[in-house]
């Protein structure tokens, strides 16, 4: 119940933003409909004149009425459709915009467990379903709601008895369309599920194409796909068996109404109870009523889907931003880069990832974080820009608790190169400039590229910095992507830099070269680096050794090596792996 109320709220919230559109649309549509229902009356008039003697000039008047009514109804209908469409498209625009804005506020935890495809589908398909509900959905609904009572009232005034008889099949029409719509939708859903399976099997095949070929499994894969494909067709035809009833049923019921009018109306004309003109008017009304009636069932289905989509959007809107300090921007300050972790713990969905971590870093120090896979290195550094919120203890930058800092100030002081490189399909230059709040000069972009050891690559590109990245442009190698990501992080010269396993696709020399070059452009920057390379971590001012979420050792290379503990072990193993990698 509560949930439904929320759904109503969101619905009214968007609807009432354009209340004038709806009101004017409503009125113009009412005028158009009011005029349209007059048409059969004109027809009746004309036919009556034929039956009881009239002149061609009187008929000419009726002919002008017909054209006049159609013209004025058309003008109203034009405005109604345009205005309602505008309202529906504006709602679509707002939903798109609000959806994206909301997504932008959500934290990492949300993205970790959501699927991009699903989010995109909500942002596109569901928004579209809502738009469709408003127009043509509500437009047709309003039209049906005007024309049906109006026509019935007018029919009633002409001949109540005939109206009652001819209306008998009407409710069945709406019911049949509604029920069919409902069951077809159920079967349609099954088709969608099967389509998902079909896609998944193709995707798997493509991903595994090397294995498929090596084991000569093409034929088997085709057979496997054939079975799924067959199943899909079977499910589809299952839906068609019902869906194919749709129009035949509509025509059948409309035909039955016509039959009633023919039989009973005809008898009444024979008995002189009604005129032939009335009979003709009735036929015209029936023609006029069939589609709005059938449309009612169709619209109900559309509205149902629209609300289902609203519910899916609401699910997203209801997720509170995990980190809620996007407050008023404080005056942006530049940090010195003094960082302290004080008894920091972090649990991810109640399972502890980091426990009681404490250390201090002075401005300009280089901190290496080492440890086995899954020991919590990435999590540790992602707490600094508040990608995740600590669950215990505090992190201080320049003596201030980061939770008290404005998020924009915090993040603009930190340059991060994440493990998973992600570039946008823009030019290389734009991808690097992405790291800057203000538009950087070409010289700044060039410097950043140079420090990231990317310049020589870019100079070989067809359009240098203006070369598009991605499918439409050049395909960058893994190393080039990673170095672009590095350039993006350093271009704004932040006092704190985080390299989260950011050198995996570049060689040792380049890694050393880049790290050494940093200080040339950023004075006294604090650097966190997660790296497997001995050359990188053995030169660090501070080495943090993580083991299963605990900070087991900290200090510099010599001290830690002398301890002969976890670090010494890691050092030896890493040295080994590193050399193996070089083959």
């Amino acid at each position: 119940m509560n949930k439904n109320n929320g759904l109503k709220d969101i619905f009214y919230n968007y609807l009432k933003r354009y209340k004038w559109h709806w009101i004017i649309g409503f009125l113009t549509l009412a005028c158009a409909t009011g005029l349209t229902v007059l048409m059969p009356l004109v027809l009746r008039n004309a036919v009556n004149k034929l039956e009881f003697g009239g002149s061609p000039s009187q008929l000419l008047t009726d002919a002008f009425y017909i054209v006049g009514i159609s013209l004025s109804a058309g003008i109203f209908r034009f405005f109604a459709l345009v205005i309602v469409t505008i309202a529906s498209r504006k709602i679509e625009y707002d939903l798109h915009s609000d959806f994206f804005e909301h997504i932008e506020k959500l934290g990492r935890k949300f993205f970790d467990k959501s699927n991009v495809g699903d989010l995109v589908s909500r942002g596109s398909n569901d928004v579209e379903a809502v738009q469709q509900m408003h127009c043509p959905g509500f437009y047709s609904l309003l039209y049906s709601m005007f024309i049906i009572p109006l026509a019935v009232v007018l029919m009633f005034r002409v001949d109540p008895t005939l109206t009652l008889y001819s209306m008998i099949p009407m409710p069945f029409l709406a019911l049949a369309v509604y029920l069919l719509g409902k069951y077809v939708y159920g079967r349609y859903h099954k088709i969608q599920v099967q389509l998902g399976k079909l896609s998944a099997s193709v995707q798997e095949n493509l991903w595994a194409i090397r294995v498929v070929k090596a084991f000569d499994q093409g034929e088997n894969q085709i057979r496997r796909f054939e079975a799924i494909n067959n199943d899909y067709v079977r499910k589809y035809m299952n839906m068609v068996r019902l869906w194919a009833l749709f129009y035949p049923v509509i025509y059948m019921i409309a035909g039955l109404m016509m039959l009633v009018v023919l039989l009973i109306g005809g008898a009444r004309v024979i008995n002189d109870e009604i005129t032939l003109g009335t009979f003709v008017a009735f036929v015209a009304y029936l023609v006029m009523l069939v589609w709005p009636m059938a449309g009612l069932g169709w619209v109900l289905g559309m509205i149902q889907r629209g609300f289902a989509s609203y519910a899916r959007l609401k699910e997203i809107f209801d997720i509170e931003p995990e980190i809620s300090s996007l407050t008023e921007t404080q005056a942006k300050t530049r940090f010195k880069g003094d960082i302290e972790f004080k008894n920091v713990s972090f649990a991810y969905y109640n399972s502890p990832v980091l426990e009681d971590i404490s250390f201090k870093v002075k401005p300009g120090q280089k901190v290496a974080v080492v440890g086995a896979t899954g020991s919590g290195k990435s999590t540790l550094v992602s707490l600094i820009p508040r990608l995740y919120e600590v669950t215990g203890g505090s992190i201080f930058i320049d003596g201030k608790d980061i939770n008290s800092l404005d998020m924009e100030t915090l993040r603009s002081n930190i340059g991060t190169v994440p493990q998973d490189v992600y570039l946008f399909s823009r030019t290389v230059g734009e991808n690097i400039a992405f790291g800057c709040e203000s538009k950087p000069s070409p010289a700044e972009i060039k410097t950043a590229a140079k420090v990231a050891d990317l310049l020589k690559d870019i100079e070989k590109f067809p359009e240098q910095f203006n070369t598009l990245v991605g499918e439409k442009g050049v395909t960058l190698s893994g190393g080039q992507k990673q170095r672009t990501s590095i350039a993006r992080a350093i271009i704004k010269k932040p006092p704190i830099l985080i390299f989260d396993d950011a050198f995996s696709s570049v060689d040792t020399d380049t890694e050393r070269h880049i790290l050494n070059g940093l200080h040339e452009i950023i004075e006294n920057c604090t650097v966190f680096v997660i790296s497997h390379r001995v050359s990188t971590f053995q030169n660090a001012d501070l080495i943090l050794v993580l083991d299963e979420g605990k900070l087991v050792e900290q200090g510099n290379h010599e001290t830690l090596l002398a301890q002969g503990g976890v670090y010494a072990n890691i050092y030896k193993r890493q040295q080994l792996t590193e050399e193996l990698e070089k083959i």
Binding site: L43, A46, L50, G54, P56, L59, D62, A63, F64, V67, S70, L71, A73, G74, F78, L81, V82, T85, I86, R89, E92, Y93, S97, F100, I103, E104, L106, L119, V202, Q203, L206, R210, V211, A214, N220, I222, R224, F225, N229, V233, M237, V240, R241, A244, Y251, M258, I270, L276, V280, L387, E408, P418, F424, F434, E471, R488, L576, T577, K582, I583
Partner: protein, 593 residues
């Protein structure tokens, strides 16, 4: 008539060639298509019967006050309704079935076509793009097959029928009714042109908004880390706004067109009333004729209103079929020789003779490579990343075609061997193990008919049986996507079992570098030894123990073979291998020792 021509011209404007090719997919279902067409003609005819029956009812019975005759007509009318119901249902069902069968065939064709493509093709075509061909584009064609084309024909039949019916009842009144037709033709032509343009832009902008969502939701972490939310949001809204505006702009065409068609219909109706009415008064036509004309005129304008929708379907279908055909027209660059030599069992002699190979253009990654591996010999390839080790595997499996030189298997040119029988005799173990959705047994047999005993035997031999049997349902245990529920080491053991279950004559092994726990490592080492036993083996070696056990080591550097020999010989030579070894294996040796 007019309409039919316009549709045809439109088809040509889009591409008659594509249409012709599309229709070929319906050939196998000729019977259905023809039946469906006949049914369609029947429906069009039946539609016309209704108004005609009403005309007879008025003229012959109601005006004549013959109630029994009216009941007769009503019974006929009812019979017509029932017949129409059945025929309509049958026609829809049959056409949908045809559409689905055509789609089914098209999907099979695309899938099979993809299986024929060499690996290079997949380098050039990302998975996402191929998926779109397979799902969205085929879906669009379904609309065309199942609804679009046929309803156009149905409408045409109906229109022709109406024209014939009207002319045969009274040609003068029919002529007057159709006086407004040129107006309709003009309105439709203008509308079609406008809608075609705006539809294209609408599709484009929808695609842009969706692509933007896709790209930026995927990259949200970067946006948030660099506090670019506002800038990206503004950019999104730019696209969003463009979409809204084109939608609003295009609704004008619809909002003008629909009332215009109605108005033209009203003009026809007015003419019928005036001219027809005058003639009724003059007694030259009957009353029923007038009523029938009113109904026919109403019928005539209905299909025209649906025109825009069909237009969009047709337009989308042309674009989709173009893309699909382009994919299907990509000839595989490596073709299985039609009368290739089929070898049941390989001796395992492999010879590369002056082989040159580049993935693209002239960037050779293998330069003048020559070596010979004797049956049963174990050869390791050593070298830095990018030295060309993997390319050798790629050529041996005919994943790629080499440019110069010759590769001989048991003395036969590899290009003359049947590709399938060749691959059957080669076993491949890759660094990254791909786990298919399905259970453990499926992942070993890969869908090949295999005895569970064989699967068990292969697993036991490579020490994979222990972990498998520990799982619930052991060989029937479901593996999660990407094998998320088993460890990297276990995946490797599974891939060994997979390779061994196919009992290859030659084993090609790209050793995994990822570190696993000591216990698994020992199982892997032991399994490796057993797998290599008695088989010609090519190994891209990363482990010291493997290097020690091979008969010969080929050292590659920048696409060339620089040194060949066994471990001791190469060490004595103090060349590249020696240096590689110094660098890479010394520590391990120390550790092992």
């Amino acid at each position: 008539m007019q309409n039919y021509h316009e549709e045809e011209i439109l088809g040509k404007a889009y591409d008659a060639r594509l249409m012709k090719r599309l229709i070929k997919y319906l050939y196998p279902y000729k019977k259905y298509v023809i039946t469906s067409f006949i049914l369609l003609i029947i429906i069009s005819g039946l539609k016309l019967v209704g108004p005609y029956l009403v005309k007879i009812a008025i003229d012959d019975y109601i005006m004549a006050k013959d109630y029994d005759g009216l009941v007769m007509i009503a019974i006929l009318f009812f019979a017509m309704l029932v017949l129409q119901f059945v025929v309509r249902y049958a026609q829809t069902y049959m056409m949908q079935l045809t559409g689905q069968m055509a789609n089914y065939k098209m999907r099979m064709e695309i899938f099979s076509h993809l299986q024929k493509q060499p690996l290079g093709f997949f380098d050039r075509n990302p998975v996402g793009r191929l998926m779109t061909r397979m799902t969205n584009d085929v879906q669009v064609l379904n609309e065309l097959f199942a609804t679009g084309v046929v309803t156009i024909f149905g409408d045409v039949f109906t229109l022709i029928g109406i024209v014939i019916a009207m002319f045969s009842i009274d040609w003068r009144l029919a002529l007057v009714t159709f006086v407004s037709l040129p107006l309709l033709a003009i309105a439709t032509a203008i509308f079609r042109k406008k809608v075609r343009e705006s539809y294209r832009i609408v599709r484009l902008r929808i695609a842009k908004v969706n692509a933007f969502l896709q790209e930026h939701i995927t990259g949200m972490k970067i946006i948030q880390l660099f506090t670019r939310e506002k800038e990206i949001f503004d950019k999104f809204n730019e696209n969003n706004k463009l979409l809204r505006d084109i939608h609003i702009k295009s609704v004008f065409y619809y909002a003008v067109f629909f009332p215009t068609v109605e108005l033209i219909g009203a003009i026809s109706l007015a003419l019928i009333i005036y001219y027809g009415g005058s003639r009724v008064l003059a007694g030259t036509i009957s009353f029923g004729v007038l009523v029938a004309f009113i109904q026919y005129a109403e019928m005539f304008y209905a299909p025209i209103r649906n025109l825009s929708e069909k237009y969009n379907i047709l337009q989308a279908a042309m674009a989709s079929s173009e893309r699909i055909f382009k994919l299907l027209d990509t000839e595989p660059r490596i073709i299985n020789p039609p009368d290739g030599i089929k070898l049941d069992k390989l001796k395992g002699e492999i010879e590369f003779k002056n082989v040159w190979f580049a993935y693209e253009d002239e960037n050779y990654v293998l330069k003048d490579i020559s070596f010979k591996v004797a049956p049963g010999e174990k050869v390791a390839f050593v070298g830095a990343t990018g030295a060309g080790k993997t390319s050798i595997i790629n050529l041996l499996f005919r994943f790629y075609e080499f440019q110069k030189g010759e590769i001989l298997i048991d003395g036969h040119d590899i290009r003359r061997l049947d590709m399938h029988s060749l691959r059957r005799q080669l076993g491949l173990v890759l660094q990254d193990v791909f786990i298919f959705s399905g259970n453990v047994a499926d992942n070993i047999s890969l869908g090949e008919k295999m005895d569970i005993a064989e699967i068990r035997k292969a697993s036991r031999r490579v020490n994979a049986d222990k972990f498998i049997e520990k799982m619930e349902n052991d060989y029937e245990a479901d593996l999660q996507e990407g094998g998320a529920n088993i460890s990297i080491g276990q995946k490797q053991l599974l891939s060994f079992a997979r390779a061994l279950a196919f009992n290859p004559s030659v084993l090609v092994l790209d050793e995994a570098t990822s570190s696993v726990d000591t216990e698994t490592e020992m199982l892997i080492q032991d399994a490796l030894k057993k797998m290599l036993e008695g088989r010609t083996s090519l190994i891209i070696a990363h482990r010291l123990s493997t290097i020690r056990d091979v008969d010969r080591i080929i050292v590659m550097h920048h696409g060339e073979i620089r040194e060949v020999g066994n471990h001791d010989q190469l060490m004595k030579k103090k060349g590249i291998y020696y240096r590689l070894y110094q660098l890479q294996f010394k520590k391990e040796e120390a550790k092992v020792g």
